[in-house]
C-alpha cells in the first residue's frame, strides 16, 4: 500500500467519523429543543423562569405547590418516559432489522408487538383486567411470543429468513385473536383495548420511568458487548458460520436484549406504533453508511416519540390524542421524506 493510498483511506475514515459525529450532535440538538418545548408547553400556563425555578426546587427549597405538580409530576416524568421508551423502541427495532437483514423486520411487524397486544386485549376483554395487570400480561405476551418464534424457527440453528416468515405467521394469528376478541366484547371494553393498543404517554408516572431507566442501565452494556459480534453476522449466515463467529450465541443474545427492550417499553407505554420500525431506516439514511447507526437509532426513536407526543398534546386545540396515533404519522412521514430526498442507494442493511 502506498503512502498516498493509506492517506486516502485514513481521510475517508475520518470523513465518515466526522459525518457520524455531525449526525449524532444534530440529533442531540433536536432532542434538546424538543425537550425544552415539552417542559414549556401546556394548558396550565407556567412562565419559563418558573419552570426552571420549579425544576431546581428540590435543591433550592423554593416551591410553589401547583406549579411544582405540573412541572415535576406531569411534564418531567412524561418527558423522561418519552425519551426512554422511544430510545428502547428505536434500539430494539434496529437490532431486529440488522439481525434479520430486512428493513421490514421490526418487532411491530414480525409478531412480537402482536404478542404483547393480544395478551393485553385478552386481559382487558376476557379477564376484565385493567392497569398494571394488563401491562404485566403484555410483558409476558411479548416474551412468550418471541420465545415461541425463536423455537419454531430453530432447526439446526435459525436463519433470518425463517425467523421472519414464522414471525409474520405468528403476527397474523395473533391479529386474528385480537380481531376475534374485538367482535365479541362490549363497546366500552373495545374502546379500552383500542386505547391500550394505540399506546400513550398520557398517564406517565415517575415510577414507569424509573423501571425503564433501570432496564436501560442493565441492558445497554450487554448490547455494547454483543454488538461487536455483529460484524460476522451481517455478512450472511453461511459466511458467518465460515468465519467461526459464535453465530447462534450472538444472535440469541441480541434477540434477548431486543425483546427485553420491546417488552419493557411496551409494558410502560403500550405498543406505540411504528417507532421501532422507522427509527432504524431513518438512522441509517442519516448516517449514509458511516456506521451501523445503533446509537443514532436510539436517538431517532426518542426524538420521534417526543415530537409525536408534543403534536398529540398540542396540535389539535381541545383534543388530546394518544401518542401512538401520531408516532406512526410523524415517524413515517419523516422516513418518506428521507426516501424522496436521499440520492444514496436505498440499502438499509
Amino acid at each position: 500500500m502506498t503512502l498516498v493510498q493509506a492517506t486516502t483511506i485514513a481521510a475517508a475514515r475520518r470523513a465518515r467519523q466526522n459525518h457520524a459525529t455531525r449526525v449524532t450532535l444534530g440529533l442531540l440538538a433536536a432532542l434538546l429543543v424538543a425537550a425544552i418545548a415539552a417542559m414549556l408547553l401546556g394548558d396550565f400556563p407556567v412562565p419559563p423562569e418558573t419552570v426552571l425555578q420549579s425544576l431546581f426546587s428540590p435543591l433550592t427549597g423554593i416551591s410553589n405547590k401547583g406549579v411544582d405538580f405540573i412541572v415535576l409530576q406531569v411534564r418531567l416524568p412524561r418527558l423522561i418516559l418519552a425519551l426512554l421508551s422511544g430510545a428502547a423502541f428505536g434500539l430494539c427495532g434496529i437490532i431486529f432489522q440488522t439481525l434479520l437483514r430486512n428493513p421490514l423486520a421490526s418487532p411491530d411487524i414480525i409478531g412480537i408487538a402482536h404478542g404483547a397486544s393480544a395478551a393485553a386485549v385478552f386481559c382487558i376483554i376476557v379477564l376484565g383486567w385493567g392497569g398494571l395487570s394488563v401491562s404485566l400480561g403484555a410483558f409476558a405476551g411479548a416474551i412468550l411470543t418471541a420465545v415461541a418464534i425463536y423455537l419454531l424457527a430453530w432447526r439446526n440453528g435459525v436463519t433470518a429468513y425463517r425467523v421472519v416468515l414464522i414471525g409474520i405467521g405468528a403476527a397474523a394469528m395473533l391479529s386474528a385473536i385480537i380481531s376475534y376478541l374485538f367482535t365479541r366484547a362490549r363497546l366500552n371494553e373495545v374502546q379500552q383495548a383500542m386505547a391500550w393498543l394505540v399506546g400513550s404517554l398520557n398517564a406517565a408516572q415517575p415510577a414507569d420511568s424509573i423501571v425503564l431507566a433501570i432496564t436501560m442501565v442493565v441492558i445497554l452494556p450487554m448490547l455494547f458487548v454483543l454488538v461487536r459480534g455483529l460484524d460476522g453476522l451481517e455478512l450472511g449466515d453461511d459466511t458467518a458460520h465460515a468465519l467461526g463467529t459464535h453465530v447462534e450465541r450472538t444472535r440469541l443474545g441480541l434477540m434477548l436484549v431486543a425483546v427485553a427492550l420491546a417488552a419493557f417499553a411496551t409494558a410502560a407505554v403500550g405498543p406505540v406504533g411504528f417507532v421501532a420500525f422507522v427509527s432504524g431506516p431513518i438512522a441509517r439514511r442519516l448516517m449514509g453508511g458511516a456506521g451501523r447507526g445503533f446509537p443514532q437509532a436510539a436517538l431517532v426513536g426518542a426524538l420521534v416519540m417526543l415530537v409525536s407526543d408534543l403534536v398529540a398534546q398540542h396540535a389539535l386545540p381541545g383534543t388530546q390524542l394518544p401518542t401512538g396515533v401520531v408516532t406512526g404519522a410523524f415517524g413515517a412521514t419523516f422516513l418518506l421524506w428521507l426516501l424522496v430526498v436521499s440520492g444514496r442507494s436505498g440499502r438499509v442493511n
Partner: protein, 343 residues
C-alpha cells in the same frame, strides 16, 4: 445428456400441469361444499332445488339464493385476487413480507371506508366497495410515486419501506378517527376483520370485472416477474425495462388487492402466505407460481369460510380470523419443514 434435461423439464411441466388440474378439481369441490354448508343445516337436495326451481316463499331457498350463492362467488373472486396480488407483489418487490397490507393497499382502502363512515355516514356495504377501491388505488399511487423518486427509481427496498411507512401514516389517521368516534369504531370493527358474510350478488358483480382484468394482467406479467427475480442489474442487462415491469405488475396487484379488500375487507393472511406455499411446490418461476397461487388461495379462503360457518353454531366466525388460525400453523409448519426458496 441434453435429451435427459429436456425430458426432465418436460416431465416436471407435466407434473406441475397435473397439479393444476387437481387444484382445479379441489376448487370445484370446495365451491359445491360452500353451497351445501352453512350455519343452518339445509339438505343437499333442497340446495339443488333452490338453484333449479327457486321458491321465494321457502326460507331455505332464500338462504341458498340470497346468502350462500353470492357469498361463494365473492369467496372465489376474492381468493383469486388475493392469491395473485400477493404473488405479484412479492415478485415485484422481491420481499417475502410484501403483501397488500404491508404495501399500504389494505390500509388505504380501510382509511377511505373509515372516512366514509365517520364523515359521510355511509354504512352500506355496497358503497364501501367503491370507497375501498379508490383508497387502495390512491395509497398505491402515492407509495409508488414516493418510491420512484430519487436517483435509482423504485427499488424493491424503497417500495417496501415506502409502503410500510404509508401504512403507518394511514393507520395513525384511522386510529385517531376510531378513538374519537366510537360509532365509527362500532361500525368498522366488524368490517376490519375481513368477512364474506352479508356480501350480496351486487358486490360480486361490482368487483368481478376488476378481478378479471387484474388477473389477466397478473398472469401476463409472469415473464416480467421472472426477469425481476434475477435482480435489477441482471434484468436490465438482459434488456428488460425495470421501471415499466414493476409498474405493470404493481398495477395488476393494486387492481386485484383493491377489489379484494373492497369486497371482503382486509384479509391479510392469504395473499401473504399462499404464494410461499405455491413456491414451495413449484419452485421458482412465476409461470407456475401465479396459476398455483390463483387456485390455492380461493381453496384456502372458501375452505376457511366453510369452517367458520359451522364451527360456532348458531353463529359464524369471520373468514379473516379462520384463515389466520388454519393458515398460520400450516404456514409455520411448512416454513419449518422445507428449505423455502428465497426470493
Amino acid at each position: 445428456m441434453e435429451a435427459s434435461v429436456v425430458e426432465a423439464r418436460a416431465s416436471r411441466a407435466a407434473a406441475l400441469g397435473l397439479g393444476l388440474v387437481l387444484l382445479a378439481v379441489a376448487l370445484i369441490t370446495i365451491i359445491l361444499l360452500s353451497m351445501a354448508t352453512g350455519a343452518r343445516a339445509i339438505p343437499v337436495d333442497m340446495v339443488w332445488s333452490a338453484l333449479t326451481a327457486f321458491d321465494p316463499n321457502s326460507t331455505e331457498h332464500r338462504i341458498v339464493w340470497d346468502l350462500r350463492l353470492p357469498r361463494t362467488l365473492v369467496g372465489v373472486l376474492v381468493g383469486i385476487a388475493l392469491g395473485l396480488s400477493g404473488a405479484v407483489l412479492q415478485g415485484a418487490t422481491r420481499n417475502p413480507l410484501a403483501d397488500p397490507s404491508i404495501l399500504g393497499i389494505n390500509s388505504g382502502a380501510a382509511l377511505f371506508v373509515v372516512l366514509g363512515v365517520s364523515v359521510f355516514g355511509i354504512t352500506q356495504l355496497s358503497l364501501y366497495v367503491w370507497l375501498a377501491f379508490i383508497g387502495a388505488g390512491v395509497a398505491m399511487l402515492v407509495v409508488y410515486s414516493v418510491a420512484s423518486l430519487g436517483r435509482e427509481g423504485a427499488t424493491p427496498i424503497k417500495l417496501a419501506l415506502a409502503g410500510a411507512a404509508m401504512t403507518a401514516i394511514i393507520l395513525a389517521v384511522i386510529n385517531a378517527i376510531l378513538l374519537t368516534s366510537p360509532r365509527t369504531l362500532d361500525e368498522v370493527r366488524f368490517w376490519q376483520v375481513g368477512s364474506l358474510a352479508g356480501r350480496s350478488m351486487e358486490i360480486a358483480l361490482q368487483v368481478s370485472p376488476f378481478i378479471a382484468i387484474g388477473a389477466a394482467l397478473a398472469l401476463l406479467s409472469a415473464r416480467l416477474l421472472d426477469g425481476l427475480s434475477m435482480g435489477d442489474d441482471v434484468a436490465r442487462a438482459l434488456g428488460q425495462r425495470i421501471g415499466l415491469s414493476r409498474a405493470l405488475a404493481g398495477l395488476a396487484a393494486v387492481i386485484l388487492a383493491g377489489a379484494a379488500v373492497a369486497a371482503a375487507g382486509p384479509i391479510a393472511f392469504v395473499g401473504l402466505t399462499v404464494p410461499h406455499v405455491a413456491r414451495a411446490i413449484t419452485g421458482p418461476g412465476y409461470r407456475w407460481i401465479l396459476p398455483y397461487s390463483m387456485l390455492m388461495a380461493p381453496i384456502l379462503l372458501l375452505g376457511a369460510d366453510i369452517i367458520g360457518r359451522v364451527i360456532a353454531p348458531p353463529g359464524e366466525v369471520q373468514v379473516g380470523i379462520v384463515t389466520a388460525f388454519i393458515g398460520a400453523p400450516f404456514f409455520i409448519a411448512l416454513v419449518r419443514r422445507r428449505k423455502l426458496a428465497a426470493l
